[in-house]
């Protein structure tokens, strides 16, 4: 049972792929800190004192409204997570706990959303948002993203709620709590780990989405950072410093969040897939 040779191959393959996965990212971030000539002449060299240059970053943060776009992304993401979790938990609770005539039908109705891509209804969504006078608002984005993420959130949270022992709710009822109280004071606190998972799971796709910001909030200062970087890149396409800096500012926050939350994220991904 001792085979050092095969361990070498295993780590070789894994290591090689990890390098492949990380290489573009490292390259971009590294070169964003270098002067233009160094980028072209010695692209593989890490930023050294003699080629260090922050000119790209000054352009990024000085010339454009990218900082405000960060704020937009944060508002949209946090808003989406908040409402998805709240409404999702409430719906999951009702579907799991209460027996009523349309329980199963409603469950299936919501489950459809998991598999069917909501983007295909964009035509109508745009019309609706325009009719409601919500074009170029963050509200429109939050509404759409909540609708998009509710089905999966309800599904995952339902599974968790089912694991909460029935005794707790019954003790609550015996103690005289109303159904609303039971939900908000007993169930919700116990759902925290599940909600953390769903939050992390929802956060990244919403932050990174290009489609809906492009369709619903393309101008007027309400762009998300993803769209903003896209537009910035289109504008500064020949300015390599600015471009690399912009990319890095888009990469780094996500990476940091990811490294912090990677365990929850992977757990959320796998529990969501066991449909």
């Amino acid at each position: 049972m001792r085979r050092p040779a095969s361990a070498f191959i295993v780590h070789g393959i894994l290591g090689l792929y990890t390098l492949l996965a990380l290489f573009p990212i490292i390259l971009v971030i590294m070169n964003s800190f270098k002067a233009k000539r160094a980028i072209f002449n010695t692209p593989l060299q890490p930023p050294m004192p003699w080629n260090f240059d922050l000119i790209g970053y000054t352009k990024v943060f000085g010339d454009s409204a990218l900082a405000s776009y960060y704020l937009n992304s944060i508002v949209v993401t946090v808003g989406t997570i908040f409402f998805t979790l709240l409404f999702g938990a409430m719906a999951a609770w009702a579907l799991t706990e209460y027996k009523f005539r349309w329980n199963t039908a409603l469950g299936i109705f919501l489950a459809i959303g998991i598999m069917v891509p909501i983007r295909l209804g964009s035509v109508s969504i745009i019309q609706m948002v325009a009719d409601l006078n919500l074009i170029n608002t963050l509200t429109a984005l939050v509404l759409v993203y909540v609708a998009q993420n509710l089905p999966l959130a309800v599904f995952i949270l339902s599974e968790f709620i089912q694991q909460i022992p029935k005794d707790l709710r019954e003790a609550g009822r015996c103690d005289g709590l109303s159904e609303y109280n039971i939900f908000f004071f007993i169930i919700l606190p116990l759902l925290r780990p599940a909600m953390a998972t769903v939050a992390v799971f929802t956060m990244i796709p919403v932050w990174n989405d290009l489609w809906f910001p492009l369709l619903l909030a393309p101008t007027g200062g309400k762009q998300t950072i993803t769209l903003g970087v896209q537009q910035f890149l289109g504008q500064y396409i020949t300015d390599w410093n600015a471009v690399l800096a912009a990319l890095s500012t888009a990469i780094v926050p996500v990476l940091i969040l990811y490294v912090i939350f990677s365990r929850q994220l992977i757990r959320g991904l796998t529990s969501g897939a066991v449909k």
């Binding site: 573009p24 209804g121 035509v123 990677s262």
Partner: protein
């Protein structure tokens, strides 16, 4: 009068609490997810006139899309590109994901979580970042890709892949694979973890080596997950838009060689320098995409659900 379910709670109060809990989710979901979808399908049966009104058109839009050369040529082009996109993912992304998952699930492995975290990282990044970073790397101007290929003696392979009709779609597909390999990897990895250790011990005692244990014991038991991964790939690929748009814009050049149904839809609906926006035809394309995706899902449900019985523990 008590509800059948809760003693001492009046029917009215019971209903009220139900509505309270369910309403927000159901309303938002129906309004912004289901209704638009149905409306889009409806829209595809109408034709928008120049004066803004809609007249009922039956399936004329569909026939136009599929047979009228002005529409059908780009449509079928986009459709075939989607198919190629899908095939490349199935041939490259999923086997690599399977290989990585198999390696990660080995009983003894140092740095396991580090590998897992790092390999999954590209999936976290936005398409904008990925699209542009790769554009830079593959750009003949910067020359990094060329330099690296020359380093391993494959310099002759290099070309302006993104700018060439023959290789643009392939290149973008591979970049998409690079981004998303983490997902099949994680899903298959989790499925492999669910296989009880004792089963592998039994196989070891039965005389199987690592490879044989993988092919004859583990693989059969994860077929359901592989099926799931396949249908997810299908849905994602036929729904794709972001990467192509980020790298090539709405025109998905060169010469529409990277055009997929998503970009076609975007172009048709919103118009561009070549044509005006066409709401009805846009809706038609979206409906076609829906139908294609639903067909794929139906095939999956039918095939896999039948086989699913065989492999449960």
């Amino acid at each position: 009068m008590s509800t059948p379910h809760l003693v001492g709670v009046s029917r009215g109060a019971y209903m009220r609490s139900l509505v309270f809990f369910l309403a927000p989710a159901v309303l938002i979901y129906s309004a912004f997810s289901i209704y638009p979808l149905l409306n889009t399908i409806l829209n595809s049966f109408y034709d928008k006139q120049d004066n803004g009104t809609f007249i009922y058109n039956g399936i004329a839009n569909f026939t136009t899309l599929l047979t009228d050369p002005t529409w059908s040529a780009p449509f079928w082009n986009a459709f075939w590109n989607n198919c190629k996109f899908f095939f490349i993912h199935m041939l490259v992304q999923n086997p690599i994901g399977l290989l990585l998952a198999a390696l990660l699930s080995l009983p003894v492995l140092r740095f396991r979580s580090a590998y897992r975290t790092l390999i999954f990282m590209p999936t976290m990044l936005s398409v904008v970042v990925i699209g542009f970073s790769w554009q830079l790397i593959l750009s003949p101007l910067w020359g990094i890709a060329k330099m690296l290929l020359q380093g391993v003696g494959l310099g002759f392979l290099f070309g302006p892949w993104l700018g060439q009709e023959s290789t643009a779609l392939l290149t973008i597909s591979l970049i998409s694979v690079w981004q998303f390999v983490g997902i099949p990897m994680i899903l298959i990895y989790t499925a492999l973890l669910a296989i009880p250790d004792e089963l592998i011990d039994a196989a070891t005692v039965d005389g199987l080596n690592q490879f044989q244990a993988f092919f004859y014991v583990k693989l059969p038991l994860i077929w359901p997950t592989i099926g799931l991964v396949s249908v997810l790939t299908f849905v994602n690929n036929f729904n794709a838009f972001d990467l192509v748009y980020a790298m090539k814009g709405a025109l998905a050049g060169p010469n529409f060689s990277a055009d997929i149904m998503g970009t076609l839809f975007y172009r048709v609906f919103f118009g561009n320098q070549l044509q005006n926006g066409d709401v009805s035809m846009g809706a038609t394309i979206a409906t076609m995409m829906l139908i294609i995706i639903l067909c794929g899902v139906m095939v999956y449900l039918f095939l896999v659900q039948r086989r699913l019985q065989r492999y449960s523990f």
